[in-house]
């Protein structure tokens, strides 16, 4: 199961498993985002390369307008995936508990 929704504080919350079958849903949501984007990943349990592709594509688009994505509440496993992928050098990342 995967959900993506807009929180009251303006951040975007991802929950569940962002795999290849859910990447289209995530991309469709993020394609409508403009300006500075804060993604709360505190409830994201799993991400595969399809999900990474969605984040990268959106980040590049938003960076083109001087904005970008900030990834917050990032858990250990997801952070490991970001580190292996070099995303820790591309995104502003706030680990869970900070």
């Amino acid at each position: 199961m995967f959900e993506i929704l807009l929180a009251e504080d303006g951040s975007i919350v991802m929950e569940g498993r962002l795999d290849a079958a859910q990447a289209v849903k995530a991309q469709a949501f993020l394609d409508n985002v403009a300006g500075r984007c804060v993604l709360d990943l505190g409830k994201l349990e799993y991400i595969s390369s399809a999900g990474l592709g969605v984040l990268l594509k959106t980040h590049k688009r938003l960076m083109g307008t001087g904005n970008g994505i900030k990834l917050t509440n990032v858990g250990h496993h997801i952070h490991d995936i970001f580190r292996y992928s070099g995303f820790d050098k591309l995104f502003e990342i706030v680990p869970a508990g900070h």
Partner: protein, 133 residues
């Protein structure tokens, strides 16, 4: 445990259920789940996406191994494609040079403890092992 999977990414939810059952039966540490889920998904999706000349199901097997878990994916009636020979992604490249593709197999190679490719009689078989340590 084994499962024949349709060539459809919507099979991923069934593969996750299979992995869940295998972990329960074998008493494997939960910390290994994400590595097994990720490697299985990436290899399965790669077969579905690029081996489009066949309609045969893809066989996934998960069996106990001396050090943890062995997972095999077999694709039938396909051309040879060895994922272990794929050129690694430059993860140090700046944002403007990064593209969404290519990360999946790179992550598999990075995260599993060993991986082996075999091609025989138009069958492509990938075996990986994840160490319970």
């Amino acid at each position: 445990m084994q499962r024949k999977c349709k060539r459809d990414i919507n099979e991923l939810k069934n593969i996750v259920k299979m992995t869940e059952s295998v972990f329960q039966e074998m008493g494997l540490p939960a910390g290994l789940r994400n590595v097994v889920d990720l490697a299985t998904e990436e290899l399965f999706v790669n077969m579905v996406t690029y081996n489009t000349e066949t309609n045969e199901d893809i066989l996934i097997e998960m069996v106990p191994h001396a050090v943890g878990l062995e997972v095999r994916l077999t694709d039938y009636d396909v051309e040879r494609f060895d994922p272990t020979e794929v050129v690694p992604v430059d993860v140090d490249a700046p944002l403007e040079e990064r593209t969404p593709g290519g990360l999946g197999l790179y992550l598999v190679m990075k995260m599993v403890d060993s991986i082996h490719y075999e091609y025989r009689n138009r069958q492509s078989k990938i075996t990986f092992i994840v160490d319970r340590k």
